[in-house]
């Protein structure tokens, strides 16, 4: 994969006459080889390989001027800073600190308290012989109904 990308970038560089590899490198894991191009320095009269079949006139290849482009900006310095900002603030701060915050939320919506309270009430009611739950939500003797109007 690395060889494939390397070879593609080398081909791009070669057709544009940019200085390409100056030493020969052979991959130990694949058969990829990057060798100094004999065309280095010599610009061909017409590029034999366009990098797009039907190029859009306004399409820009960010890797052309800056092979280490992260895709944010043409200017390499701004590009690197943008990448750093996204990774630091996005991952290191929000995702890491945020997940820690969420993981250590105290008793979200009082579920654990509800369980403890229920167990406590059941223990109390069983110990005192009271029914565990009554069907009336409120004490019926305390409800004052209006007079019957007939």
């Amino acid at each position: 994969m690395l060889g494939l990308c390397g070879r593609r970038l080398l081909a791009v560089a070669a057709t544009r006459g940019l200085p390409a590899a100056s030493v020969r490198w052979e991959s130990s894991s694949s058969r990829a080889v990057i060798a100094p191009s004999t065309l280095a320095g010599k610009r061909p009269s017409e590029p034999t390989l366009r990098w797009q079949e039907d190029p859009e006139p306004e399409d820009e290849n960010l890797y052309e001027k800056n092979p280490d482009s992260h895709g944010y900006d043409k200017d390499p310095a701004v590009d690197v800073w943008n990448m750093r900002v996204v990774f630091f603030f996005g991952f290191s701060i929000v995702l890491v600190l945020g997940s820690t915050f969420v993981a250590y939320l105290p008793d979200y919506r009082m579920q654990e308290w509800a369980r403890r309270e229920a167990e406590r009430l059941v223990k109390y009611r069983e110990a005192h012989g009271l029914p565990l739950m009554e069907s009336n939500c409120f004490d019926p003797s305390k409800i004052q109904l209006p007079e019957d109007e007939d």
């Binding site: 820009e60 944010y72 900006d73 701004v78 996005g90 991952f91 009082m110 579920q111």
Partner: protein, 459 residues
């Protein structure tokens, strides 16, 4: 609440006054910090909501939606950076201002106490979205798309305004916190039937319900990537959120009024899933998939059981992240090939293997693979609809099968197979794109470890 509104408002001077090279860096940085502060909303009580003031409150339903909204702004900014790089500076800043304005209106919509304030903000979100679709969309169809989007939503929501004013006159207040306790059962009469329809149609159009969904494929397809992301992830959920709030006032006639809409949604989710199998346009496939998932949410909200509400909330959040990620993936294809046709850029796995990993994860979460939160949402909805009526399980099961079919179809068409010869020199994936995908996927995966925060107020 001001701790979210004022920083979001201040993002606007930040864009306009930043140096040319720093606008994206500054806005992304500060919007990420705002999304960090949004997690403070998770301090929810078990029996009440977090009431900030008379105007703003947030309970366990609006909190996950708010966190999603605030998380999405930096992602939208990152996704738009490439296609806006050719624009002149004022237009870039205008685009970012539209996104920030939309974010502001959405925050205020989700936290509104007064239902009229909610309505005003609900309508206000239409304006920046319309501007984003019609000004920065890529094809001429965007004008038609904007028209459909605007007028469908407006036509649905004008009756809601009338209904809200009527409720204000009869109940005395539209403050949601008070209405919860003052609500009386709504007797069955013709005028109450129309009242029910008036309240619900706005949200049905927004969700969208199957018969009223025509605006969605147009708007999602023609919008630029940030527009598609915010439409799919948040604006659809406004409908679900509104429905969950307004059904409080509409009992008990919902029991029978909901039937036509449940039928439409049950049938519609199968129809739209089947339409997905026939799509050639990648974004259109994802748009119809959104309709299908939202139909599940509509069914869940209308049957009004505790489990279905939990499933609806979970499904809204899960779908927001998944659908936004799918649109970002489709956009990464579009930026290279300048076409949305699926078969035009196929076999991408050999060329862009890391992006293929993201495609795989997004497709797997889209088809609700366990243990993702998509599955939790769908499972809760399927279980509650089964207990509501046994026959629905056939339709739900069929929908899950077809969802799996089209998600895998999308994955296989774009990723597997021999790549076409004309794309063998597309650019490798940018760090920006990989970061964008992981910022979508990681919250989704982390939430499957701790789903209680997205299960809503009935958890």
């Amino acid at each position: 609440m001001l701790k979210y509104i004022i920083p979001t408002m201040m993002l606007m001077p930040l864009t306009w006054l930043s140096k040319n090279s720093m606008i994206w860096i500054n806005t992304t940085l500060h919007s990420l910090l705002i999304s960090l502060t949004s997690l403070l909303l998770l301090n929810q009580f078990g029996d009440n909501s977090l009431n900030f003031s008379l105007t703003f409150f947030s309970d366990s339903l609006s909190t996950p939606l708010l966190i999603l909204t605030m998380w999405l702004l930096p992602l939208m900014l990152m996704a738009s950076q490439h296609h806006l790089s050719k624009e002149n500076l004022a237009r870039k800043k205008l685009f970012i201002s539209m996104l920030i304005l939309l974010q502001l209106f959405l925050i205020m919509t989700f936290t509104a106490t007064e239902l009229i304030f909610f309505y005003i903000m609900f309508e206000a979100t239409l304006v920046p979205t319309l501007i984003i679709i019609t000004r920065w969309g890529n094809q001429t169809e965007r004008l038609n798309a904007g028209l459909y989007f605007l007028f469908y939503t407006l036509a649905g929501s004008l009756p809601l305004l009338v209904a809200l004013i009527y409720i204000q006159n009869t109940m005395g207040s539209l403050n949601f916190l008070i209405l919860q306790y003052w609500v009386q059962p709504m007797p069955n009469s013709w005028s109450n039937t129309f009242m029910w329809l008036a309240c619900m149609m706005a949200f049905m159009v927004k969700m969208p319900l199957y018969g009223l969904h025509l605006w969605l494929p147009k708007a999602h397809v023609e919008a630029p990537i940030a527009g598609s992301m915010v439409l799919a992830a948040i604006l659809l959920k406004l409908g679900g959120y509104g429905m969950m709030r307004i059904t409080l006032l509409l009992n008990p006639i919902t029991n029978f009024m909901a039937y036509p809409f449940i039928m439409l949604s049950l049938w519609g989710m199968i129809m739209t899933s089947s339409i997905c199998l026939r799509q050639t346009d990648l974004k259109s496939l994802i748009a119809y998939s959104s309709v299908s998932h939202m139909a599940l949410v509509i069914v869940a909200i209308l049957i009004q059981t505790p489990w279905s509400y939990m499933g609806a909330t979970a499904l809204m959040i899960a779908h927001g992240l998944t659908s936004s990620m799918l649109f970002c993936l489709a956009n990464s294809n579009y930026e290279r090939v300048h076409s949305r046709t699926m078969i035009l850029a196929r076999g991408l796995q050999t060329l862009l293997p890391l992006m293929a990993a993201w495609w795989l994860l997004a497709s797997l979460t889209n088809l609700a693979l366990p243990p993702s939160i998509n599955l939790i949402g769908e499972l809760f909805v399927v279980m509650s609809t089964f207990s509501w009526s046994n026959i629905t399980i056939i339709l739900m099961g069929l929908n899950m099968v077809i969802t799996a079919l089209y998600s895998l179809y999308m994955l296989i068409t774009t990723q597997r197979g021999k790549h076409t010869h004309h794309i063998n020199n597309i650019l490798p994936s940018f760090t920006r794109e990989n970061a964008l995908m992981s910022l979508h996927m990681l919250p989704l995966l982390l939430l499957s470890l701790n789903p209680k925060i997205i299960l809503g107020p009935l958890y």
